[in-house]
Symmetry: D3
Subunit: 235 residues, 6 copies
């Protein structure tokens, strides 16, 4: 039995509210249960040095957490520098979003997706990817409306969901009480029905090929649902 | 004529929404026009080393801005460390809030007030102080309800407002278009009808004693209004 | 056809030379083709603060690369701080090794495994895990010989191998020329026939469930071979 | 009664010795009682990037304290980085000095004013501004003598003085014993009889409009005296 | 011919003014020609952790340079951290001073000697050692007068002088114009007629055993003179 | 009697193995007894900014130590930044190597010599210089073979050896047990029979001119032997 009473293949309620800040070219607030992440996309007409005069665009991401997004207050990263965990997460978000971008169609410009966790209850990096894609798409829509980009560089939505083994059972979309107990958990990122990233990790535990297969099945189902919510949000 | 069409002594619409995050002991989202600041108060039963066994409590503050809270994206402070400006602001917030705290009544514990700017349109430090006091008060109320604190350490609200000289005219509560043009501007913090801090500053300009008096008058009026909104929010 | 002429399921020659430094409690030099990693294990009778008086041991890892381990010289991390990539790798090594450790049997002490890449040709993090386990095992053997540890905390070897999709083909153990071309690649860590970590990642590409299955099969075969070489090295 | 026996409106003895180092374009040692600050002005023909080709000059300031300028030794900032307090002070000094500079007349060049506290007894930032202006003026005089600058960019001297409420009484120019006891104190910067900055601050206290007026009066008197000493020093 | 017209074995005029700051337990301003260094000694009754309960004292040193002590302004180290050169110099000063200290007689306390260069014209590290010893001695005298230390831990003065090969000639006490031209130069530290440190260094040049001998002779003469000036200063 | 049983003028066994990594333009592993240092030379066709268009080449060095090169594990410098000691050593290595380089003959390019200590038993900086010269020479030979450099910029080998006073006796080439006991020790660097650097240092001790002479004699003998081994290694 899951602490929340959810079924093993049941995702938390997910909502995506767009246009939440007036300055960003694209923005949304994604809520996966009690995990709330504010995502903004900022367009910059300059690309990083390694792409100058390449004709290719770039998408990058940054991730942060407000100090009291969590049960007990965490130290502010602006005072101590980004932790290894934070850097690992923002590299993952950027890589995942780029998997769904046609960088030729985007043209030589950079879009930075900022994902800031307002409230955390597990699965923040997955919510950041799912919401980050929505912010990115809204910014791209603005470029297309302005005629600056003519062919849509974002065909299929990119979404992410966590799965893990909680109390011996494979479950979809772990919340914090599950996440802190699970010996095995992972993040699955997909686009257009295909995999982009798989990160299964165990702390002091192991898992079988069979369990791996079940988790991949659960993830596939959850991501299909997320794609529907994303599509609705951007139209 | 002010860009917003406001009168010289007219504050922007101010609203304070409380209970906006589930983990913090006190929280609110303050909106001063298009300036939105999320304030949380976190109670820690330990005090800083210099107060150990003193019987005195402590209130401190930290300030941050999401990278795309502003018109153009700013670099994330977690990547570069806090700027001098950020440190100056958070020292001001902490000092201002402490002016309204009876540290004996609070008892030997620390409350950290985090003020994170979600959207900026001028006057973020003042909104942070005004909203920060509300978050602080809600956390203290929780301590009083639990019987841990028996005498209220927060009698009068602490609030802050900016004033400045825009187009030769003394005005209340500058928004970003005014702030970026004004040669003279300042922040006034008050509690219980008395002054706590006055920070008048000029970039390449000067001001007279008479102008100083007018600004102090404007500030007094604005803060009285803010105090009413604060009191409503915490009851 | 692979640049090295290897078959798709053919690992590079792997050798593990033990006892290569006189100070470390356990050490080895692992060679996976032209990738050479020096691994040392250092015993510390103190554990990190969060484990004090827990009775539990700890295994952690650090990773580095000599500046000219690579084709062109990299900046020395001691001058610039550890990159996000380095931190991500050393967190992975530590987590992977801990999956094969009985921390009660180890007792309240810490073993730090240092993995320093002397020469790089792809797959350095996998070689670090495989060699790191050997260094760790040798250090633990010393503790057991001294009677300080009585029940072996390391039952099955932990090993790692990379797999990826090169030129449309699933291949085992990518070397640098393959790694720099492959759009999809990943690292598989196993112990006792079970999975510990799976990290599939795509840069601007995607992969199917079927390809995922093939890569898992390849990895399983490679790791069984590595386990034999590890077992030989420590006896 | 003040610890020093001074009257409430009595400033400490102030002297300004010019030409104290042989390399700087302008330099002085200002003594406000036992507070001694060495000020140097360094001319750089390059301006910061944001002023390139603007025709405008720039004046900036840096502030430091020798580790044993104070009663007990402080940690050296070169080992730990500049504190928030130090950054706040040097931003204030730079802003204050710029208020008295005609940046068109100065021409496209930068002058850096370094203020290093040799011995501290309260009021170091005010002494730094008053002495900093003298060093700046001497450097500008050199530019005018050389015919590089033709119209004097520094018409009126900029000076600063602290005031505060000590033992319930408004007093001018607090020394360290007063400063460490005063609940309310502030810094007033003026030029040509007008205000440039006002920084009133209270630690756990408040003050009335009437007290504010008295402090402004005291400051005005002190600054007039300082202006006379500055003028004498530079002629 | 030397730029200053001095003979090859002629030191610059050296003066040592004591008691120059009111807070430090010992202080002096040493002038070696145009090189001026302010030295203070601060007593701390706590020793570094590695000496706790050892009964032994410690002497350490820190070195700094005001930004405009030099011909052209240098970047402030508080903004950028101490350079390798600065760290090397302060390690040398501390090591040299300790050579003349009876650490048992000093007792379990630490004295920190701060050497801050006010004006530089070559030979700053040597002046810092020579003046640093005077500040140290004055602080120790205070401890002896108070009866806290009963047997003098500083028997012979420690002094330092630079020598080098300028225009093919061995010369004593290089000033900046000589130092910036000399291919070979070095620092000699002595106490009680014996050597403590010898640091001969060549940038793109070499020197013979014979030249080494001449430089050692020159240094011996200069240091004898410095010892007389030191002794006079502390009595 | 020396702990190793060596005579006072007896160097440890020294061997230099070249071509130890496949990427570097020059490389060797130098073994001085149990001190093992891996040296690589990397050619960069760009020079530092201060040499642009000067026609002059540059040689620089970096030094590191693997965390478990020593008896007990040291903290990894990549996590904490380079210590003052490390910076001091790598500045010495670079300066020493440059003393033997004809920078006009080298031409406008930079060679970086990395010296990484794999195992430490005293004298690591001397081994780094001696081995570093061999790596540098091999890289230069490659440039000459390619016809890019036509006149050999490295005529005489640069080598280094430590000497010190152990148990009252002047000895050559201190190993760690001697080095940790010796109150006086130093490093001597020579090329072509002439001195390049002399660094005699005493921790809480002193030495006479006579002892200095004996140490210089010992060093001269040792370096002649090292030069023979270097010459053999590069031919």
């Amino acid at each position: 039995m899951r602490p929340s009473g959810r079924k093993t293949d049941q995702m938390r309620d997910c909502s995506i509210e767009t246009g939440v800040t007036r300055h960003a070219e694209g923005s949304c607030l994604i809520r996966m249960g009690d995990t709330h992440v504010l995502c903004t996309a900022s367009i910059d007409e300059r690309v990083p040095p390694f792409l100058k005069n390449s004709g290719l665009g770039w998408v990058t991401a940054e991730y942060g957490m407000l100090p009291r997004a969590t049960h007990s207050r965490m130290r502010r990263e602006a005072k101590n520098g980004q932790s290894g965990r934070t850097q690992e997460i923002q590299r993952l978000i950027g890589r995942s979003l780029r998997a769904g971008v046609d960088r030729v169609a985007l043209g030589e410009r950079q879009i930075t997706v900022d994902c800031d966790v307002i409230q955390a209850d597990g699965g923040t990096r997955c919510a950041a990817i799912t919401g980050g894609w929505v912010a990115l798409k809204l910014a791209v829509n603005k470029l297309m409306k302005a005629g600056v980009v003519t062919s849509d560089p974002l065909v299929d939505p990119v979404a992410a969901i966590s799965c893990g083994i909680y109390a011996g059972q494979e479950v979809l979309d772990l919340d914090y009480p599950e996440d802190s107990e699970a010996g095995v958990d992972g993040n699955f990122i997909m686009t257009g029905g295909k995999l982009v990233e798989v990160q299964m990790s165990a702390e002091g535990a192991t898992f079988t090929r069979g369990q791996m297969d079940t988790l991949l099945d659960l993830a596939g189902g959850g991501i299909a649902d997320l794609n529907r919510i994303q599509t609705q949000a951007v139209t």
